[in-house]
């Protein structure tokens, strides 16, 4: 069934279709409408779930974790300050291997105060042990969220998943979204309960782990996270068989075959870059696009395979890791190191809602092309659009 939905509505429908059982969420702009929509589903009876009206974001994550430990399928939504406030609990959730799914409606972190889109909030949690997916449009928000439950709950993974989409650009923009049938999703997402807190099988969770244990827990956790890239391929393929929509696995290429200069982006910039690539191709440029769908674990192998003909790579980052540069720029260089000597030109753009449109990406492309032809070494990173 096709409907006009904004990103928040798409996320709410995904929660409904996934039959989430516990919603623990605390309002924050521009994510709150997604939470309200789900409470509306609960009120009208189209979703059977308990809403815990927590007093803070920290408690939202804690309540979702508690629900997961006791065997339910929870869901929550947040961003920016809320996500930062949850940070401590994010680590507990991944460390305890609980497959909690959370929508993150990316927004810039204060200070200075901002309500506008940017991916720095999610990037700041890159070491928290969560799987992180980024979506380019509202259909992908719905589809990735549904895939996220199956991915996180996979026996070989058992990890929490963040599904990212940007505030306003996605959360408040309506697009056509095709909603799958409930029966289809029920078959795709069977509920398998694995309570850690169960009176029939008492266990102690999160006991003190000394030096003889802690590191091994971490080894297994990291191995499970690495596993998520391959499982995402399977899950995406299964979803494609069901719905006909294939978002690819960890990465997706566009016009890459003979591309010499490749734009690399995640989130809404991907759809902008797609248009920019088409325009550049019309001008005879050998431009291509590599979409990063999976940011954590970072799909280094898929990235290398996706860039066969590239002579220059353009990392487009809507985030700044202070003193280092853009997260994608850094990851791309690390992924290619020792494999290919392709220069990575790293750009910081679009922070705090600053516009980054088709013309901007085309201009960056031309800059990079000139530098490439001139044989210039890329700067560590540069700011675009100041």
């Amino acid at each position: 069934m096709r409907q006009l939905l904004n990103g928040n509505e798409a996320a709410a429908h995904a929660a409904r279709l996934a039959r989430v059982e516990v919603l623990a969420s605390y309002p924050i702009t521009p994510a709150a409408p997604a939470m309200e929509k789900i409470t509306q589903f609960i009120a009208e009876g189209s979703l059977k779930a308990r809403f815990i009206r927590v007093e803070s974001d920290h408690s939202a994550m804690a309540a979702a974790l508690g629900a997961s430990l006791a065997g339910a399928r929870p869901f929550l939504i947040t961003n920016s300050q809320g996500l930062a406030y949850m940070s401590e609990v994010l680590y507990h959730t991944s460390g305890l291997r609980q497959p909690v799914v959370m929508a993150v409606v990316n927004r810039a972190l204060a200070a200075p105060h901002s309500r506008f889109p940017e991916q720095g909030d999610a990037v700041a949690q890159e070491a928290a042990g969560w799987i992180q997916l980024f979506c380019e449009n509202n259909q992908e928000v719905l589809d990735s969220l549904l895939q996220a439950f199956r991915l996180g709950e996979d026996e070989g993974v058992r990890l929490p998943v963040m599904v990212n989409y940007e505030g306003y650009i996605q959360s408040h923009t309506r697009e056509t979204v095709d909603l799958p049938q409930q029966e289809e999703i029920d078959g795709f997402l069977p509920l398998m309960r694995r309570p850690a807190l169960d009176v029939a099988n008492p266990m102690a969770v999160n006991t003190v782990a000394g030096p003889e244990l802690y590191m091994d827990f971490k080894y297994h956790q990291d191995a499970a996270l690495q596993q998520a890239a391959a499982v995402l391929e399977e899950v995406s393929a299964a979803y494609a068989r069901l719905t006909g929509r294939d978002w690819g696995g960890p990465v997706a290429g566009y016009r890459l075959e003979d591309a010499e200069v490749v734009l690399v982006a995640m989130g809404s910039l991907v759809s902008t870059a797609r248009i920019a690539v088409d325009a550049l191709r019309e001008e005879g440029e050998k431009a291509g696009l590599l979409k990063i769908r999976l940011f954590r674990p970072f799909p280094a192998v898929a990235v290398r395979q996706g860039l066969p003909a590239a002579r220059a790579i353009v990392a487009l980052d809507k985030n700044i890791v202070y003193g280092v540069g853009g997260a994608l720029g850094r990851e791309l260089r690390a992924s290619l190191y020792g494999h290919a000597s392709v220069p990575v030109f790293s750009y910081i753009l679009g922070l705090g809602g600053r516009d980054a449109g088709v013309a901007d990406l085309a201009q960056i492309y031309r800059q990079v092309r000139e530098n490439m032809v001139a044989g210039l070494t890329p700067a560590a990173y540069q700011w675009y659009g100041l």
Partner: protein, 290 residues
């Protein structure tokens, strides 16, 4: 429900067992052992960072015979809310969900999630085991630390009085509220028995001395807990629907000086301060209906 009326009638089964990592004479461990006699095996407990969180499980061993989750410091009542929601959605009804926190996990860093859960009238029991300091990090002062108690970070004595958590929690109008003491096990056990029969938010505050923090000997834990009641600084009562019932009227009344002078932490308290405290206790003693 039949109340346990004698120590002989207390079930033998230990659900918080020996072999835990607490110090000898730990008031907190005693409180847990006693409470579990009433709560029984169909109980899920979550304990935030504190002595109790660490002494109940270490490495691959645990002293808990029930499901136990050592939660983060701020959020045991929120975790308990999530557990309850998960049980409800699965149709599991006969399980007690307990968040069990120290005085910091209750009154300080844990207060936000506690007041939230109480306001939502979550169907959980929150227990504060109160040793009046931050023992797990070395005994620093917190809001539950009494006036002029010396701690590592208030060496000259804490300059402000203790926060009145019971008044604060009573203002939330919980379904059940009680004080308890490890020196009165039957009273404590009966309160947990009554609490588990009631639905809604229940708050039980247990005075659980810590010899290290209080400057007493390991074998004085119960003695001090008892004297706290006998001198009137800690009253044993319960409130259902806001109506208070005093549950223990001590047989003898002792001056507060006796309580204070037995402890290392009140050494800087002068006689005038003790007299003022005694006057305050006397006034309250008269107000409380018995």
């Amino acid at each position: 429900m039949e109340l346990i009326n004698s120590l002989a009638a207390v079930p033998d089964t230990e659900l918080f067992t020996g072999g835990h990592g607490g110090c000898r004479g730990c008031g907190a461990a005693l409180a847990a052992r006693q409470a579990m006699k009433a709560l029984g095996p169909r109980t899920i407990i979550t304990i935030p960072a504190s002595c109790m969180a660490t002494i109940g499980g270490s490495g691959l061993t645990t002293a808990w015979e029930i499901p136990f989750y050592h939660s983060l410091f701020e959020c045991a009542p929120a975790v308990a809310s999530g557990i309850r929601a998960a049980l409800d959605i699965q149709g599991i009804e006969d399980v007690n969900v307990v968040s069990w926190a120290g005085d910091a996990g209750t009154a300080d860093i844990g207060f936000q999630s506690l007041t939230g859960a109480a306001e939502r009238q979550e169907n959980i029991i929150h227990v504060c085991y109160d040793n009046e300091t931050y023992m797990n990090t070395g005994g620093q002062a917190g809001s539950a630390t009494p006036y002029l108690a010396a701690t590592p970070d208030t060496p000259a004595g804490k300059p402000t009085p203790r926060k009145d958590m019971l008044a604060i929690m009573a203002a939330h109008r919980p379904a059940y509220l009680a004080t308890a003491s490890v020196a009165y096990p039957l009273d404590l056990i009966q309160k947990f028995q009554r609490a588990r029969e009631i639905e809604g938010f229940r708050y039980i505050h247990i005075l659980a001395p810590c010899f290290k923090g209080w400057g007493i000997k390991e074998d004085q834990t119960v003695q001090l807990a008892r004297i706290a009641v006998e001198c009137g600084l800690w009253q044993l009562y319960e409130e259902v629907d806001g109506r208070r019932r005093v549950t223990v009227i001590p047989e003898r009344r002792l001056p507060v000086r006796e309580y204070l002078r037995l402890q290392g932490r009140f050494q800087t308290m002068d006689e005038a301060t003790i007299a003022a405290l005694q006057a305050a206790v006397d006034r309250r003693w008269q107000e409380v209906p018995s």
